[in-house]
């Protein structure tokens, strides 16, 4: 009996580690119940979810400031450090914004299910970031994926159903590949706990070829989640037909969570430089290809959401490029980039959602002459696009600047030629990306047309407020990057 008591006490301690996630689970149950009981539920559901995630953000922030030492829980299945907590904060903020974006569409069917699925993805993403066990990675990825498959179909039309199925097929294949890689790793190391000493020792003695194969398989699964080349092909189709608020969510939360765990996994796989393969060279090459494929495909798109899908693939390339510089500074800059990325990307999706819901805009041409009816929204759209392209005076510039400077710095210390090519590729791609980022503002401002579009005269609306807030954040990050960077500086990368 005494043993059980001890165990219970231990489990209670562990609960501290996953308190925000537990809270989310409770919120999820409440949402389902409310959906069953309350009649006029739209407002209630949204308020409940929003406030719930706000509380979760508070809890995560608490974790961020309290976690000075890494804390592991549940028999080393998960590990909480300030690095993970920072990513969790980013995800919670994104979720809050996405909930607001979703409310623009007043016709969203099955809102309760929609919100529960959003929360499920958030739970999965949080757990994924904290995973320190291969199995845990797999489970969290599946939690995210299954919820994503369902939410893709929530536009309730033919295209949406089709892409949901596509996503399921692609996703299942990717998961299977990843799981196979993990099983191979287990066979070679006899442990699933990847940051452990046993795992590392076994890796050092293992045969290079099977090791490389199994790593590549695991990375394939993660590349699929973050939509990196060559596992990005699902993204455009899914982004085009899924509901826009869900797409906004896909482009940020699962991507950043996948990226966070990718950084952790690759740092281990690289065996701190003693492994047979320099994985950072592989990452550099992947980053270059992702950048090129994302940008060049985006140029030819006329569908706005499809264009943003490719743009988000290109941004994956930039995140990977920053990570490929491989230093503590580089990781900090990646965190900075991720924070800016979520702000500007969600801003762009907010406006896309607004115009899709209000005026059925799907194509770039639909936006023509919009500056006359929506001057404010057009200007902030322009600012989001400039930021995505990475021009001053926006946070996008600062983020890119920091990423490039960490690549330069790594190049000058290590002399790895690939890093130099990566730098050149990244810079050239910045110019290329301008072709399509300026397309929408170009139609908005340069073309006259669509007099049929009548503005909804309401200056104090949600989209004006939220858009203004996000623009303000982007400008602030440029003019005072010290504040965001100060927070990131206190992140400890120990695990």
């Amino acid at each position: 009996m005494e043993g059980l008591g001890l165990k219970l006490e231990l489990i209670m301690q562990y609960f501290q580690v996953i308190l925000p996630e537990l809270f989310l689970v409770c919120l999820l149950v409440i949402l389902v119940l409310v959906d069953l009981v309350v009649k006029e539920k739209r407002g209630v559901l949204i308020t409940l979810t929003f406030v719930g995630v706000l509380v979760e953000l508070y809890l995560v922030t608490h974790q961020y400031f309290d976690t000075t030492q890494p804390v592991s829980g549940f028999f080393n299945l998960i590990l909480l450090n300030s690095y993970a907590a920072f990513w969790k904060m980013l995800l919670s903020v994104s979720t809050l914004v996405v909930i607001l974006i979703a409310t623009i569409n007043k016709e969203q069917k099955r809102l309760a299910e929609f919100l529960t699925l959003i929360l499920t993805i958030l739970i999965g993403a949080n757990l994924l970031i904290m995973s320190s066990n291969l199995l845990m990675i797999f489970l969290s990825v599946e939690v995210i994926s299954i919820a994503s498959y369902i939410i893709t179909t929530f536009a309730f039309n033919r295209g949406s159903a089709e892409s949901g199925l596509k996503y399921l097929l692609f996703g299942a294949a990717a998961s299977a590949v990843m799981l196979y890689g993990m099983s191979l790793l287990y066979a070679q190391t006899l442990t699933l706990e990847y940051p452990s000493q046993q795992f590392l020792d076994a890796l050092l003695e293992a045969e290079p070829l099977p090791l490389i194969v199994s790593f590549v398989l695991v990375l394939a699964g993660l590349f699929f989640k973050i939509a990196a080349f060559p596992f990005h092909i699902w993204a455009p189709d899914i982004y085009t037909s899924a509901p826009t608020s869900a797409v906004a969510y896909f482009s940020v939360v699962p991507k950043l969570a996948g990226f966070a765990i990718l950084t952790k996994v690759v740092l281990v796989f690289n065996l701190f430089g003693q492994g047979p393969v320099n994985w950072f060279t592989l990452l550099s090459i992947t980053a270059m290809l992702t950048l090129v494929v994302g940008n060049f495909s985006a140029i030819w798109q006329s569908n706005v959401k499809r264009m943003l899908a490719y743009s988000s693939i290109a941004h994956t390339g930039f995140l990977l490029a920053g990570f490929a510089a491989f230093s503590e500074t580089a990781l900090q800059h990646v965190l900075f980039y991720a924070s800016v990325y979520l702000t500007m990307n969600l801003g762009a999706f907010l406006l896309v959602q607004y115009f899709e819901v209000k005026h059925n805009f799907t194509k770039v041409e639909d936006y023509k002459g919009l500056i006359n009816t929506y001057p404010f929204l057009s200007i902030i759209f322009l600012i989001f696009m400039i930021s995505l392209a990475g021009l001053p005076p926006t946070g996008g510039f600062t983020a890119k600047y920091l990423v490039f400077s960490s690549i330069w710095d790594s190049y000058s210390t290590t002399g790895n030629q690939w890093l130099f090519y990566l730098l050149i590729f990244g810079l050239v791609n910045t110019v290329i990306s301008l072709f399509y980022y300026l397309k929408i503002p170009f139609y908005m401002i340069f073309r006259t047309g669509a007099d049929s579009v009548v503005a909804h005269k309401n200056n104090l609306s949600l989209e004006n407020f939220l858009g203004g807030l996000l623009v303000l954040a982007i400008l602030l990050i440029f003019f005072k990057p010290d504040w965001l960077m100060g927070m990131i500086n206190s992140v400890s990368f120990a695990f």
Partner: protein
């Protein structure tokens, strides 16, 4: 007020732009008055600065810059990389005060030339004011990041001003302009990152090293001590304060040993020392903006499509931003690159002079002709830079001012005729002197000023440049000889244009109604007279400019030459 003189120059137009943006549409007729008021006020401030300005060097000595304002802007901790610091650091020396003066005058003239803009006046004048602020910002920024911010930020208002208020092919022209210039600024960005990673701010590093309590207490001795410690490798990575300060960057002692742009331990990129590559990148970046043949092709398109007032700014000021940037961030920071590639700069300068002139000769569109003459005249600026003599550099700066004034006048001339007939084809006109005598006089004055007639500013500038190129120790005398052919060609295309358009019997083609050809009105005289006065004044009394720039030019020349030679020896060792 004197303490914030330059800030007022930047922020006044920005505030005015905001005011215009939020003013209701029914006050549309007041927008231009606000823009005019801002420009007049700026010109007065610049004039005041002109009289207050002392003939001090500046260039590489932060102490002798004038009207300096300094405030901390960005201060990031980069962990093991140390700190990154960017400042709101503005000030002028002889090299930039002339540019500020020129900008305020040209911007004022441009507002007057935009007086008749009715279409979307709110957008036009707020973009115009943003452009105004960023141009002036470029000339007074002494922090590379700040300079880059203004440099990039010029693109957007320009893009919209050409693209929304331009001619028939405006969309093509504006996108071409945008992409060319952006490509150039990407090259500059690469070098900026490398410079930032390689340079420390000795004063702030002293604080990090706990040698002093605060930056204000830093003495020259402490700076020397920090630089010594740096060269001996006694400063740890995380104690370094990486800077964007353009003045600190000119001092090779602030370079971090072993960094990418270090002099001592040479890093090789593509088979060349990194510093040479960096210089070439920055040269390409600004060459697009100047523009230099063969990357000049955006300029004729942009000019032909842009509305008159924007052409005036483009030729009068924007091209100078490129030349000034090359001098401030390229030649002064990489003097050894300037020496090593002086032949290339000079050669491209001469090619621009000749090729631009020949294109002008072949142009059928009056505005295109003037645009190509700009390419040709900016070639002289490059040739003067390449000479690395006091005459050459002084001549370059003189040429920038002179070309700013004259080309503004030339584009106004094209605007006058286009406003009346909406046709700029030279072949459609003949014998205009009979119906527009006053206009003809103005055209003749500006054409002669531009082709370098003694008595006009262009003559002084070009003579100085040619003298400098001839006495230069680094470039071949042949370049100077070839450049003089540019003068002959200029006389050719201008005189031929006068002959075709103004001489002979009145004869109009292309459905031009004779009755629209009325002579100049008051507003046009107001634009032309100050420009003519300036062109003549500077042609007769060159000391108005030379007194301002003498000390800076002397210092800069000897710095580029001596330090350049020294650095070349270190690199080639």
């Amino acid at each position: 007020m004197q303490d914030y003189l330059l800030s007022i120059l930047i922020f006044l137009p920005l505030v005015a732009a905001l005011v215009i943006t939020f003013m209701p549409g029914q006050y549309a007729e007041h927008f231009k008055k606000i823009a005019l008021g801002v420009s007049v006020f700026q010109t007065l401030i610049a004039a005041w600065a002109y009289f207050k300005f002392q003939d001090l060097a500046g260039v590489t000595d932060a102490g002798t810059f004038q009207f300096v304002e300094r405030a901390s802007w960005i201060d990031l901790s980069l962990g093991s990389l140390g700190r990154l610091s960017a400042e709101y650091f503005i000030g002028v020396d002889g090299l930039s005060i002339t540019m500020v003066l020129l900008s305020t005058v040209i911007l004022l003239i441009a507002v007057i030339s935009a007086w008749n803009i009715q279409d979307r006046a709110k957008g036009f004048f707020s973009l115009f004011l943003v452009l105004n602020a960023s141009i002036i910002g470029c000339f007074i920024a002494l922090d590379f990041l700040l300079f880059y911010l203004f440099f990039e930020f010029m693109l957007l208002p320009m893009y919209f001003l050409i693209g929304l208020w331009g001619g028939p092919r405006r969309e093509y022209a504006s996108i071409k302009f945008f992409l060319y210039t952006l490509l150039g600024s990407i090259f500059i960005l690469i070098v900026m990152i490398a410079l930032n990673l390689s340079t420390i701010d000795p004063a702030k590093t002293a604080v990090e090293l706990h040698l002093v309590e605060a930056v204000e207490n830093v003495t020259p001795a402490i700076i020397v001590e920090v630089q010594n410690m740096l060269s001996k490798g006694q400063v740890l990575d995380n104690q370094m304060v990486h800077t964007f300060n353009l003045v600190s960057m000119t001092d090779a002692k602030n370079l971090i040993p072993g960094s990418i742009l270090d002099l001592g331990i040479v890093k090789i990129i593509f088979g060349y020392p990194a510093r040479f590559v960096a210089f070439l990148l920055i040269f390409i970046g600004f060459a697009i903006k100047i523009p230099v043949v063969p990357v000049h092709t955006w300029l004729p398109d942009a000019h032909v499509e842009a509305p008159t007032s924007i052409s005036v700014i483009l030729a009068g000021v924007l091209l100078k931003v490129g030349a000034y940037g090359l001098l401030r961030t390229g030649i002064l920071i990489f003097p050894e690159g300037a020496l090593k590639y002086a032949w290339l700069i000079g050669l491209l300068g001469v090619i621009s002079i000749l090729y631009g002139a020949m294109n002008a000769l072949a142009s059928k569109d009056l505005k295109r002709l003037i645009a190509y003459s700009s390419v040709s005249h900016m070639g002289f600026v490059l040739l003067g830079f390449a000479a690395i003599t006091a005459e050459g550099l002084g001549g370059s700066i003189y040429q920038m001012v002179s070309h700013g004034i004259i080309s503004a006048g030339l584009f106004l001339i094209a605007g006058v005729i286009y406003d009346r007939t909406h046709n700029r084809m030279i072949e459609n006109y003949s014998g205009l002197a009979h119906v527009m005598p006053k206009y003809t006089v103005v055209v003749v004055i500006f054409f002669f000023a531009s082709l370098g007639l003694p008595g006009f500013s262009g003559f002084i500038a070009e003579i100085f440049v040619l003298l400098g190129a001839f006495s230069s120790m680094v470039i071949s005398k042949w370049l100077m000889v070839l450049a003089t052919f540019g003068l002959v060609l200029a006389a050719g295309y201008y005189l031929w244009t006068i002959q075709r358009m103004f001489y002979g019997k009145l004869h109009l083609k292309g459905d031009i109604d004779k009755n629209v050809l009325v002579d100049m009105n008051i507003r046009e005289w107001i634009m032309f007279i100050p420009l003519i006065v300036l062109a003549v004044l500077l042609g007769i009394f060159p000391h108005f400019i030379l007194d301002l720039i003498n000390a800076s030019v002397e210092t800069a020349t000897s710095f580029i030459f001596d330090t350049g030679l020294e650095n070349l020896k270190i690199i080639q060792k």
